[in-house]
Amino acid sequence: MTNPIILLRGQEVPNIHQYDVYVQHGGYQGLKKALGMSPDEVINEVKNSGLRGRGGAGFPAGVKWSFIPKNEPVKYVTVNADESETGTFKDRLIMETNPHQLIEGALICAYAIQAKAVYIYLRGEFWDVAHQLDQCIEDARKDGWVGKNIGGGNFSCEVYTHLGAGAYICGEESALLNSLEGKLGQPRVRPPFPAQKGGGLYGEPTVVNNVETIANVPWIMVNGAAEYKKIGTEQSAGTKLYCVSGHVKKPGVYELPFTATFRELLYDICGGPSVEGRNFKALLPSGGSGPIVHLNDQVLDTRMSYEDTAKIGTIIGSASLIVMDDSVDITWVASKVTKFFKHESCGKCTPCREGTYWLDKVIDRILAGEGRPEDVKLIENVAKNMAGITLCALGEFAANPIIHTIKNFPDDFNQHVAKKAETKPVPAKKLAAAGD
């Protein structure tokens, strides 16, 4: 079967980002169909499609929508377009090449939960994307798809774009809501969850979904849940945008069904290692936040689905594949990723705020050849002390690169500290004194 294209329709239809072109090619028919159904029917359709959240966690979208209490008068939809995960650049492509599908999907979601408004929260650097979206919203409004009495019915909903101020943490849904409210971008304590009263935007029940998740919805409405479920694997329905970067010949964003394997993507599509004579060494399948794996045959022959990647000890997450060949020192990778999380830690909770800084200090020492043999154990321990007790997932993510690089590539670390141990051993006594 040929690869279905649900999201990157700009590849098939030139200028589909324009309202007229989008409408000529079936645009806003999903919304129209949804408006003819009851909100519950729409939620059930999305539930049945098996659509899972594309932001990384893979939570079933329809189930999330069904958590919204029916009797609350004010509800919101928030589209997470903060796209800040290292190596992720898919949402931008959707918004640039197929923006109306996002807007349509968001409105279907809004109808399903009877939301008053949709907020599209974009990272600050996406100002040009936001301007284009604003234009698209106005174009759609002219035909009555946005604003009062959408499609001539009783449902009204506004769509707004909002630019963030440059913080990775604002991709975390509760920090995003804080930022959207004009507060400091720090995650909130949960429960209450965004879907609950008191937990969402301005305290109202709110659905927060990733751009890619929402962009799937119009297709599902038009073609039906059953058709959608046919694509992909048992537990991972539909197609996924895979962002490939690093040592491959043809990096880029590719839309593939979840049934595709890493080998199909990295060799057949991306053309294999970028430098002849070198071999793939390691893969970060989900940007900096997911566990790193050896890019061996077992991994290459794994399907890039939620359930299959779990089996090899990693996650597909937002599908930001960072590919590294055998020229790469994984300690350096761990250092780079740690620096990123140190820079992006919001500082709200202790382990993440202090831990990321500490990890960075020790890895720098290791990389500089000043490491002590026990430093590897130290950072592994510090990372483990962070994981599991931080307020939000960022702390967990920050611990991942350390824990998994040490676990999977111990030699890369040991070679640094071994050098040091030979030249200048640190007396245990001195260490103990320093620790007092």
Binding site: L184, H343, S345, C346, G347, C349, R353, I389
Partner: protein, 838 residues
């Protein structure tokens, strides 16, 4: 109540309670915390309170707990540790607080915290009562594996405002201060700036950290990051002796602890180094206003009156107490019963009792209060808030009306607690002739994500009684909500009112409460922001404002002015004080009243003696001696007792306690108010003081007594009757003049506040507030110097334009260097070109 299991033992705890509190109160289990505070919403930031948490498995069909092989409920433990502070207890909750897993995690959090902490405990003001220090000792690793030499280097002296300093290095980013300002005070002037390890506390306000409650942030700061300008580097906590005391400044009667030390700079004498809140959940919980905290410097002011003085011609010359008593006795005998007393609001019950006895012995009952503006204290005694009242209990379904009072400036503690009552769901109505801070809260519809309800009423100056009396017809909707509330408290002040107006307002308020059935029970009734700490004590001892007016109109032969400053407050003082043959002043400072005195006698301040005050909720509270006397000053009651002895009336009592014993025997209201009764304490919740490791502070613990609340006559079962209200004439400006509206400012230039030099930048320059149209008519721009003429007097102040009612000029008292009217007065305002202002 629900059953939970902590470390294998069953406990009954209140449903919905916070797990940290529940473990503390029910099991005595101190789950360590840094960011959590029982007075604020949890945020789960520090991660110190992590515990193992599990829930009993419930069979979905039978709804019964699933049992294991041993017949015990099966517990499903969560895979990760959970923060206890963000958990509300639910039935079947299991908690492990002492396992290796938990201890390790706590140790790790401490280790993380200390990687950026400067560990400058030896020079830190918090050292010795620091939660971080305590918890490090209890749970810390004992050493650090972070062996880099570059500890965080940040600014250690950041003035957030004039009063509070931030040490950025010490801050552990717990946000207690930020949340206190936001949640408790409602002035979100503090915030976080930046992120990650650069996260810092900043102030958003201009001038910086500008609230009346800023000092509390230093108490709840779990490290030495926030310190007061008053105490920083002043002493070490372990050198301090905590002396229980009562704030002498206002009707709240905040319980405080005077931290004293034998000080080199004071010649080795004990002096107050700082003022801290002392927990009394009925009165001030664990908060105090900045005036309470920083307004203690007068007790050791160089300007105090130090020796008994006798008039010799134009000057006062020091003499001996023996000489004074003999001469005064002679003057009093000569005057016969033509003797009167005027006492101020900051005087103690013991002093008042002796004054009353002195006058009675001479056949006089002319006992007056100063200032003579607040009426209706008798109604507070009849239908005041019922015994057992705690403003903390007001919430959903309840209502509060604040009328004719600017509580933020008059009794900030009440404003703080009533704002929180509104947070909890109470309906807050603020009625005044002008905008006040509390009005801002009453107009809000939502705060911190929760809906709040309130309403505001604006009336013409002087019409408070009219509005209150006719509330049902003028504002039927508001009146209905107030009358229909489960509990109703009315706070009625006297702003913009004459004494008759104030009395009418109090009667109208009492009538409203009586007819809606909101009297004679806890959390219902009338309160009045009477000036001073003992406004109600004055009433119970028989001192009235009516008497003062009579005294002013009919000057006696001998007048004792006790801790009152008519010469400072009343522009007409010269006219009536100079008609008195012999003025005897009992005062802390030589002032414009001592100018008329034959005898100027120095009294001891609240810090140098013991005594009692009755607060606005009629709670009799005792304070203790904290520091030695200044000069030859005596407690006022001892001075009066000396006069009585010289007159042959009675032998002096040996102590204030003995005076109170007599009072408790002779004055029915004070029955059961001996010093022993007043010193009684009971367990209070939340448990924030004592030897606890986590909330810290050595001063919260209330060892001085919670006081005794006097029952109202309604409490005692007397059915109060609605009485007629005589609506007073509304004060009006003469044609072409403006009505000068005297108001109260918390920070002023009174003798007791002036010596607190560190607050000076916050004391406003003398000003008058005008309506824009009036200012335009007068050709006055903001900042212009204007001369205000009233009666035969003038005063020069700066003009401000700030939306006051048309025809009204707000003229705060006690800001200018001379007396301004204390009643609404007609006056003229003109711009002057030569600014003659300090």
């Amino acid at each position: 109540m629900v059953k939970i299991v902590i470390d294998g033992k069953d406990y009954e705890v209140p449903a919905g309670a916070n797990l940290v509190d529940a473990a503390k109160n029910a099991a005595g289990n101190d789950i360590p915390v840094f960011c959590y505070h029982p007075k604020m919403e949890p945020v789960g930031m520090c991660r110190m309170c992590i515990v193992e948490l599990g829930m009993e498995e419930i069979d979905r069909e039978t709804k019964q707990p699933v049992l294991d092989d041993k017949g015990q409920p099966k517990v499903r433990w969560m895979p990760k540790l959970q923060t206890a502070c963000t958990q509300k207890v639910t039935p079947g909750m299991h908690v492990r607080t002492a396992t290796k897993l938990v201890e390790d995690a706590r140790q790790n959090v401490i280790e993380f915290l200390l990687t950026s902490h400067p560990l400058d405990c030896p020079i830190c003001d918090k050292g010795g009562e620091c939660p971080l220090q305590n918890l490090t000792m209890a749970h810390g690793p004992g050493g650090s594996r972070m062996v880099f030499n570059d500890k965080l280097k940040l600014d250690k002296h950041v003035p957030l405002g004039d009063l509070i300093y931030l040490d950025e290095e010490r801050c552990i980013q717990c946000a207690r201060c930020v949340r206190f300002q936001d949640e408790i005070v409602g002035d979100d002037v503090l915030a976080f700036h930046e992120r990650g390890r650069s996260l810092q506390i900043i102030t958003n306000s201009d001038p910086g950290f500008d609230t009346y409650f800023s000092g509390n942030t230093t108490d709840i700061c779990p490290v030495g990051a926030l310190t007061t300008a008053d105490f920083r580097f002043g002493a070490r906590p372990w050198e301090l002796t905590e002396v229980p005391s009562i704030c002498p400044h206002d009707a709240a009667g905040s319980n405080i602890s005077l931290s004293t030390r034998l000080d080199r700079d004071a010649g080795g004498k004990a002096v107050i180094k700082r003022v801290m809140p002392r927990q009394n959940e009925y009165v001030n919980e664990i908060w105090i206003s900045d005036k309470t905290r920083f307004g203690h410097h007068f007790t050791r002011s160089e300007d105090r009156l130090l020796h008994p003085m006798l008039r010799r011609g134009d000057t006062l010359a020091p003499t001996t107490w023996k000489d004074v008593f003999a001469r005064v006795a002679g003057d009093l005998k000569a005057a016969g019963s033509d003797v009167a007393v005027i006492a101020g609001g900051a005087i103690t019950n013991e002093d008042l009792w002796e004054l009353k006895q002195l006058a009675a012995g001479l056949g006089s009952e002319r006992l007056g209060t100063w200032t003579p503006t607040y009426g209706g204290a008798d109604l507070v005694a009849k239908v005041g808030v019922g015994k057992g009242t705690n403003l903390k209990d007001l919430g959903k379904g309840d209502a509060v009306l604040v009328i004719a009072s600017d509580l933020e400036e008059e009794v900030p503690m009440w404003r703080l607690r009533l704002k929180q009552a509104q947070d909890r769901g109470a309906y807050l109505v603020v009625a005044n002739a002008r905008h006040t801070r509390l009005e801002d809260f009453a107009t809000q519809k939502e705060r911190n994500g929760k809906p709040v309800s309130g309403a505001t009423i604006r009336y013409n100056v002087g019409e408070a009684a009219h509005v209150m009396h006719e509330l049902k017809t003028r504002y039927p909707e508001i009146a209905e909500k107030l009358a229909g509330a489960t509990n109703l408290v009315i706070v009625a002040g006297a702003e913009g009112l004459t004494l008759d107006g104030s009395k009418a307002l109090m009667q109208a308020a009492a009538n409203f409460l009586i007819s809606s059935g909101h009297v004679g029970k806890a959390n219902n009734g009338l309160m009045s922001p009477l000036p001073g700490a003992n406004g109600m004590g004055l009433h119970y001892m028989g001192f009235t404002p009516e008497n003062t007016q009579h005294i002013m109109a009919n000057p006696p032969k001998v007048l004792i002015v006790a801790q009152a400053e008519p010469g400072e407050d009343d522009p007409t003082a010269a006219a009536w004080l100079s008609k008195v043959e012999t003025v005897i002043t009992l005062s802390l400072f030589p002032d414009k009243t001592t100018h008329y005195a034959t005898y100027a006698l120095p009294i001891q301040s609240f810090a140098e003696r013991d005594g009692t005050f009755v607060n606005g909720e009629r709670r009799v509270q005792r304070f203790y001696t904290a520091q030695g006397p200044m000069g030859e000053a005596l407690p006022a009651w001892k001075i009066v007792a000396g006069m009585r002895e010289a007159l042959g009336q009675a032998k002096p009592k040996v102590s204030a306690a003995a005076v109170m014993l007599e009072i408790s025997n002779k004055v029915p209201a004070f029955a059961g108010c001996t010093y022993k009764d007043l010193a009684k304490v009971e367990k209070q919740f939340p448990d924030v003081g004592g030897a606890d490791l986590y909330y810290g502070g050595t001063a919260y613990d209330n060892k001085g007594g919670l006081g005794v609340q006097i029952a109202t006559s309604a409490d005692a079962g007397e059915t109060p009757a609605v009485a007629d209200v005589t609506l007073p004439a509304v004060p009006k400006a003469k044609d072409g003049e403006l009505l000068l509206l005297p108001t109260t400012r918390l920070y002023n230039r009174s003798h007791v506040f002036k010596p607190s030099v560190l607050v000076h930048p916050r004391v406003l320059l003398p000003y008058v507030e005008l309506n824009e149209a009036d200012a335009h008519k007068l050709g006055v721009q903001p900042g212009d110097v204007v001369e205000i003429a009233f009666g035969d007097d003038t005063v020069r102040v700066r003009a401000g334009i700030n939306g006051t009612p048309a025809g009204v000029a707000v003229l705060p008292r006690e800001l200018a260097d001379k007396a301004t009217p204390f009643l609404p007065t007609s006056g003229t305002i003109k711009k002057v070109t030569e600014p003659v202002l300090a």
